[in-house]
């Protein structure tokens, strides 16, 4: 165990490891690109859906069941299926990652919206606000902490799962995991896993920091 950690240390700090097209720097950039793009696409789909369901109160059944469907969907199977259907491209990876992230964002957005006190909404309407004004000025700000929780959860899952890009011969930090697996090189696998975990934790901390700065006046 100690030997392994020592080897891991030297693997991580070796200078040549960080440069070149299969270096950590490049793999890290790829991993971030996959994860962030997938999360942005997922948010672009899921946020309007969650807001609509929360605002109108219609389709709550969909929002709740989407969560368990999303959790039950085997990501490996989805990647392989889209891969067989669409051929060698990044599409399967993005489809799988977006499918993974959408449910967390929809359900948390919906949960945040439905937790807004109905009396507050009535008060806003009483002051003459229209539907979209109530949504943007009252509901969204109040639902923000839970919406952010959904985004953070989705991002963590996506970063951890972006590893599978390497399974269908793309890059990202998963390369180290799958190459290490093929070569029975445990240090490389461990290195990849540690890097993925560090990226996920760092992004989560960054988002929670952002949340604190943006919504300072509403301590959640």
């Amino acid at each position: 165990m100690f030997e392994l950690l020592k080897n891991l240390g030297s693997w991580l700090v070796a200078g040549e490891q960080w440069t070149g097209s299969d270096g950590i720097g490049h793999r890290l950039a790829e991993h971030l690109q996959y994860s962030l793009l997938a999360t942005v696409i997922a948010a672009a789909i899921a946020l309007p859906v969650g807001l609509l369901i929360g605002h109108t109160g219609r389709g709550a059944f969909v929002a709740i069941n989407l969560a368990s469907f999303g959790r039950a969907l085997p990501t490996v199977g989805l990647v392989v299926l889209v891969f067989l259907a669409s051929g060698l491209s990044m599409t399967p990876v993005y489809v799988a990652l977006v499918a993974l992230a959408v449910p967390s964002i929809v359900t948390n957005t919906y949960a945040g919206m439905s937790a807004v006190d109905p009396e507050v909404k009535d008060a806003a309407r009483g002051q003459g606000m229209r539907g979209h004004q109530v949504l943007l000025r009252v509901e969204v700000p109040l639902a923000m902490p839970l919406i952010m929780t959904g985004l953070r959860l989705a991002l963590i899952q996506v970063v951890a799962t972006a590893t599978i890009a390497a399974y269908v011969s793309f890059g990202g930090l998963g390369r180290y995991v799958f190459d290490g697996l093929a070569q029975r090189d445990l240090v490389q696998v461990l290195g990849g896993a540690v890097l993925v975990a560090v990226v996920a934790v760092a992004l989560d901390l960054a988002l929670s920091g952002l949340q604190r700065v943006l919504f300072r006046h509403r301590a959640a």
Binding site: A72, P74, T75, G77, L84, G174, A193
Partner: protein, 220 residues
């Protein structure tokens, strides 16, 4: 992409045994997850300084890709079912710990104080007052953990196990979509049935919650 229905009928027996094998891995993991997370949750609930540490560690575990967890366990438990179960158990603990702590937090202080005032000892208070009252939130965690485990078992296909996940590898290697579709559909069905059974169990175990209807959604 066409489905080869004759392949499915020819392999009905194999599909059934893979499904059972899949379910067994997932349920064993949830069982051990509960066994380990219950005492940890009570500890996190009672001893405040430990709370942040335990929840923080479990959150970091969640960020490590499941494939890496399986591979890293190989030197310890080899290409066996044990590796699959240990890997899955780690993920179930993340969900179960968080929900159980949340459930214990949700127990009204008055209920606990009433038990203490009547001279009930701490262990008995925990078993007969706190845990039963926390049960709805704990069960929400059990449902999430079960569905998540069922979806994650297939990742173990990379280490030669993985129940229905073997269908994904098989379809990928032979460029044959039918087993992949069958694997995804069976995984989703398994998750759906397991979730419905757990809802029933919860209904039977918590008769006092039946009067006030609330959404059956889990907490993520």
């Amino acid at each position: 992409m066409t489905i080869d229905w004759s392949w499915i009928s020819d392999h009905a027996g194999d599909l059934a045994s893979l499904t059972l094998n899949h379910l067994q891995a997932a349920l064993t993991a949830v069982f051990f997850g509960l066994l380990l997370s219950l005492p940890l949750a009570v500890l996190a609930h009672r001893v405040r300084p430990l709370r942040g540490v335990l929840l923080g560690v479990s959150n970091v575990l969640f960020t490590i890709p499941s494939i890496a967890v399986f591979v890293l366990l190989l030197p310890i438990s080899g290409l066996t079912r044990t590796t699959t179960v240990i890997g899955l158990t780690i993920y179930t603990i993340v969900v179960l710990l968080r929900n159980t702590v949340e459930g214990l937090d949700s127990v009204p202080t008055r209920a606990r104080e009433a038990a203490v005032a009547m001279g009930t000892r701490p262990l008995r208070t925990l078993l007969t007052v706190e845990l039963p009252l926390a049960l709805p939130v704990i069960m929400a965690g059990v449902r999430i953990a079960t569905v998540m485990s069922i979806s994650l078992v297939s990742v173990a296909t990379y280490i030669g196990d993985g129940g229905l996940g073997q269908l994904f590898t098989d379809g990928f290697q032979r460029n044959f979509p039918t087993p992949v579709v069958a694997g995804i559909v069976l995984t989703l069905l398994l998750a759906l049935v397991a979730d419905a059974l757990l809802v029933t169990v919860q209904y039977v175990l918590t008769p006092w919650t039946r009067k006030q209807r609330h959404s059956a959604g889990g907490r993520a």
